[in-house]
């Protein structure tokens, strides 16, 4: 028996389910959105040109394109007839230059795990898939600077870095599919932002191709560099609307040699807040994640996992209204361990937590994380169609959003009564909504509201929107904490940005992409 056999529970998350459902085209669902007539449709001459620059037949796809046309949530479906898979910066540049001249619109696409419909076409935009543009360019073992192509999958980058004693500064549930380029495109936040900060801080340089084909080589590797406008920041979170990110230079932190994970049950939301303050006080610089999950979200995961791995047991003996997962990453095992133990024991004595568990080894640690990371997939399996809202709110108001939403859904009689058992009765009930759950990066004031429904419907949507956005706006929150605006949230941009801010954004867009070929119908 080798050690490896003990990696038995590893599941790679972020995988999508094959759905049997028929997904309507986005243009049918949103008849108000019209195709921009300035954009040319693809013809055989265009194909011939692309064939001349992308000689490999695997680089040009013209059939079986559902994988590229349909988004991760099965909510949006475009009609693209053409997928291009360049493998180099020069190829990207040639493609963009040609498209710009011919007025051909395109969508850059990474792992297609984006959650706002930003990475899939709306009409017949060409999909520029970065999938095969996925090499590590270099790694500086002294400074921890990774330079890579955009298409490398986060998990692959993580494995590479782990072998060098480093980690990627961002981690998220979609790691098995999402790409570094896509993460830059959405300015992904994820699970360790609390500790290592946003990509805006970690990215040292980018190589980008502008819509006219110009290559901007900014693959810098300096932590400090005040030489003019920091234009790279504009591309971080630009959602493919300004250009294509073709190279990333990122500062990576040293891998902590002592990592601990604890999972605990909580009786009410105010205890969760107090626990957060206490965690900052007691764990200080070693705290690397503080994740919040409500009871219903774990019921979903229990149900999902009972089908995929029936022998797996829930970490705690009983169920609680809320759960918290805490991770610490430090450099001294004994110190870290005693800090964590003291923290948990005093939290129990003060009745901030009802019960909990600390991972005894890395397998258990990985398992505990699974209970958090599998929530999105579980919502999808339980429901099939999930409305997702990714919200920043002052921590005090965070959970009231979930409560208010549940109340509204009950008032409108769209959801099974929460007093009846959540896991058993709900899916068999006649109500369209199976459950509304809240979970998220509490340490960052970021909560995810997921509403699992049997089917996307106008009836449910009209109860949720603009209600959720109005609620968030009234509390001075953000309607998109980390997922971006994409197609889905575009109509609601005004809830988060003033007229002047939106105008400034437009001017920036026009400066980079005067013809508007880059990811049209999105963001602005």
């Amino acid at each position: 028996m080798r050690r490896a056999s003990f990696q038995r529970f590893l599941s790679s998350s972020g995988k999508r389910f094959l759905s049997q459902k028929i997904i309507p085209f986005t243009f049918e669902k949103y008849p108000n959105v019209k195709r921009n007539p300035n954009f040319k449709s693809i013809d055989s001459q265009d194909i011939a040109f692309f064939q001349s620059i992308l000689p490999s037949p695997q680089s040009i796809l013209q059939s079986d394109l559902d994988e590229f046309n349909i988004d991760w949530m099965y909510k949006f479906k475009g009609q693209s007839q053409l997928v291009l898979k360049p493998t180099s910066t020069i190829q990207v540049s040639q493609i963009l230059k040609y498209c710009n001249e011919k007025n051909l619109a395109l969508v850059p696409q990474g792992g297609n795990t984006g959650l706002v419909g930003g990475g899939v076409p709306i009409f017949d935009e060409i999909v520029l898939s970065l999938k095969n543009f996925n090499k590590i360019r270099s790694f500086d073992e002294i400074n921890g600077i990774l330079k890579c192509d955009p298409g490398i999958i986060l998990q692959d980058a993580q494995e590479f870095l782990a072998s060098k004693g480093y980690i990627f500064p961002i981690d998220l549930g979609a790691k098995g599919s999402c790409q570094i380029g896509g993460m830059v495109g959405t300015n992904a936040g994820g699970l360790r932002l609390l500790r290592y900060g946003p990509l805006h801080g970690s990215i040292l340089g980018l190589e980008v191709v502008l819509p006219d084909g110009t290559i901007i080589d900014g693959m810098h590797s300096l932590r400090k560099d005040n030489t003019g406008y920091d234009y790279k920041q504009l591309f971080i979170g630009s959602e493919g609307t300004l250009g294509v990110v073709t190279g990333i230079s990122v500062a990576t932190p040293i891998k902590s040699n002592s990592v601990q994970v604890a999972f605990m049950g909580i009786k009410d939301y105010s205890s969760a807040m107090k626990l957060y303050v206490k965690a900052k006080q007691d764990l200080g610089e070693i705290l690397s994640a503080f994740e919040f999950m409500d009871g219903q979200s774990q019921e979903f995961v229990k149900k999902y996992r009972s089908t995929t791995s029936p022998s797996i047991t829930f970490p705690l003996e009983e169920s609680y209204p809320y759960y918290i997962l805490i991770e610490t990453s430090g450099s001294n095992k004994d110190h870290d361990q005693s800090k964590m133990e003291t923290f948990l024991e005093t939290a129990m004595e003060n009745e901030l937590i009802e019960d909990g568990t600390i991972a005894q080894d890395s397998n258990e640690a990985h398992e505990l994380w699974n209970w958090r990371e599998l929530i999105p997939e579980s919502c999808q399996l339980n429901g099939g169609s999930v409305y997702k809202y990714d919200i920043s709110l002052p921590i005090r108001d965070m959970y009231s959003l979930i409560e208010e939403t549940n109340k509204r859904l009950q008032e409108q009689s769209l959801i099974a009564d929460s007093s009846s058992s959540p896991s058993s009765s709900s899916s068999s009930s006649s109500k369209p909504v199976i459950g509304a759950v809240g979970f998220g990066h509490m340490g960052d004031g970021n909560i995810h509201l997921n509403i699992a429904t049997k089917q996307y419907s106008k009836e449910v949507e009209s109860v949720l929107e603009p209600f959720v956005y109005e609620f968030v706006s009234s509390k001075n929150g953000s309607i998109s904490a980390e997922h971006g605006i994409g197609f889905q949230k575009k109509p609601y941009l005004t809830y988060g940005r003033s007229k002047e801010e939106i105008q400034l954004n437009r001017q920036i867009k026009n400066l980079f992409d005067p013809k508007g070929i880059m990811n049209p119908y999105k963001l602005l």
């Binding site: 028996m1 002592s258 003996e317 909990g356 005894q360 080894d361």
Partner: protein, 264 residues
């Protein structure tokens, strides 16, 4: 009535790769390395607890025992108490021996512990993932002249006071019935160990860990009978090959499968 003894051992975290020392004769550890209970022993502890849940009246006591220093073993012993065993025993070894005593001596110590605790069923891991020798169950059975049911995938007490054990074998499953006293070694599929509950761990910290001195009259020494010549890291070979279509892929796959089968 069953008086169960579960010998447990501390090993390097299963996900960590041990570092080979400069002399290439063994491993070296740093103070930051994470250790935990040998996963197969964890399964044995879990099985003893599950037996108690299912056959309450059959179980008189469950005890765990570790050999070595208190510092190294207190966590795995406490965790076992928190999980629900009745008693945790530490057999302290001589400073010089550390945790690294020979397997035969370990078994001789266990023999004495079994005698002193009057145990009649030993549940233990089928192997330690650090030494991978897989012989402890057999040696102990030999010393005690007790039957051994190895690689257990299912354990069921039967009405006639014996125990039915389903065993994993290379080509399937074999079911044996074992009389008591006896030894069962646990395989991976037997169960999934529970987590340690924090509230119970806090209570466990207040409970004592019993120390049991064991003196061996005829201490075994290896005396160079077995010498480690060299420890080397395994080389994982990954070969990439391009295939032109699905048919070729399938034929390559079946080729590989049959050739690895033949090799095994």
């Amino acid at each position: 009535m069953l008086r169960i003894l579960v010998p447990i051992k501390r090993v390097l975290d299963p996900q960590l790769l041990p570092r080979i020392n400069a002399a290439k004769k063994g491993f070296e550890f740093s103070k930051n390395d994470k250790f935990s209970i040998n996963p197969f022993d964890d399964i044995a502890v879990e099985e003893s607890l599950l037996l108690r849940t299912k056959y309450k009246d059959l179980i008189e006591s469950i005890q765990v025992v570790a050999i070595g220093s208190m510092e190294n073993n207190k966590d795995i012993l406490r965790n076992s108490i928190a999980k629900g065993v009745d008693k945790a025993i530490l057999v302290p070894t001589k400073e010089s021996a550390g945790d690294d005593i020979s397997i035969l001596n370990e078994c001789k110590i266990l023999e004495k512990v079994i005698e002193k605790t009057n145990s009649n069923l030993v549940l233990m891991g089928k192997q330690d993932i650090d030494k991978d020798s897989g012989i402890k169950g057999g040696i102990l059975g030999g010393l005690l002249n007790w039957p051994l049911a190895s690689n257990a995938a299912k354990v069921t007490p039967s009405d006639n006071g014996k125990i039915v054990v389903e065993r994993e074998t290379d080509n399937g499953q074999s079911t044996v019935e074992m009389s008591l006293p006896g030894i069962i070694t646990t395989d991976l599929r037997l169960n999934v160990p529970r987590y340690v509950s924090l509230s119970k761990l806090m209570k466990a910290k207040k409970k004592p860990i019993d120390s049991l001195e064991v003196a061996l009259s005829d201490e075994h020494t290896d005396n160079g009978k077995i010498e480690i010549l060299q420890v080397e890291e395994a080389i994982h070979e990954r070969k990439c090959e391009k295939v032109k279509d699905v048919d070729e892929l399938l034929s390559k796959l079946s080729e590989t499968i049959s050739s690895t089968k033949a090799a095994a």
